[in-house]
Amino acid sequence: MIRSEILKEIAPILRDQLVVCNIGIPSQELHAIDDQPTNFYMLGTMGLASSIGLGLALSQPKPVIVIDGDGSILTNLGTLPTIANNVADNYILLIVDNGSYGSTGDQPTYAGQKTSLAKMAEAAGCERVIECAAEDTGRVLQEALDGKQMTIIVAKCESGNAKMPVITMDPVVIRDRFMKAVRA
């Protein structure tokens, strides 16, 4: 399975939740599969999806699902200790780990080699870390939502991207409709 196949499978779970989605092709795929006002698409700023989601989870009570990538987590590794030490039980970080920088030509990341993001999250102090196969992502995500405990999911999948259009929505529109959905 590649990332877009995971996103298609979990789209019904994501639909009613606040979602912060990683820069580049992940946001393009989610936008094309099931655009919702509850989705916050990152159009730039690689690495900060997990931080934006944590700030959001700590500031209001609704569940927040962050869809991040292995490359973006590696870019902002300091996020893991911050997440671990500021527990928000409405926070789920889903790292789609395809071992590559998908938006830039599928160059390999270290997460696809010797580095384990699940072990790094555990070493950072995250208490509920689950590594799963791509096929199990939906089940693990639903369990995390039902469990109401901060969870880091590392979903291991194959490298590859679906061909989707660039998001042309204005960033202020994305942000405004998202904030209205947060308040709703």
Partner: protein
Amino acid sequence: MNIDQKITDDLVANDISFVTTVPCKQLAGVIKEIDARDEIFHIPSNKEDEGMGLCAGAWMGGKRPAIIMQNTAIGVTINTLATLIQFYRMPLPMLISYRGELREPVACQVEMAVHTKALLAQMNIPTYHFHKQSDVEELDNILKYTFMCNKPVAILTDANFWGGYGDQ
């Protein structure tokens, strides 16, 4: 007047309840004060761009955020300021210790100090420079201005403002 208390009082009076910090010696007192206040959730970050991500999320979640950091962080956060805070039009007061200015004991700090205002000007970021203790009287208005216009706003605070480094 205790500047650390005055700054924190102004943050609280402007309903700022989510503050992220990356420490600087000059900022130690205000960080301690913020950490002690029940009205403010203090979340230290490991790098300033991470902190801006936290602030962006907090604001979308309904809280007013602020970041406290050193001016060296301008070198770290240019991309985040342009593509997140400015592109999505978000307010962000940045209380910045302005190292490398008058009374600075560490030469290397001057290397970023000489670029600080030029970079902020290049980014079209409204910038205020606190040099004397009485300059802090403007903070309340600067915070109101920031949340009026939904922009990142820089408040540079130099060593003279904080009272120098003593015998260092």
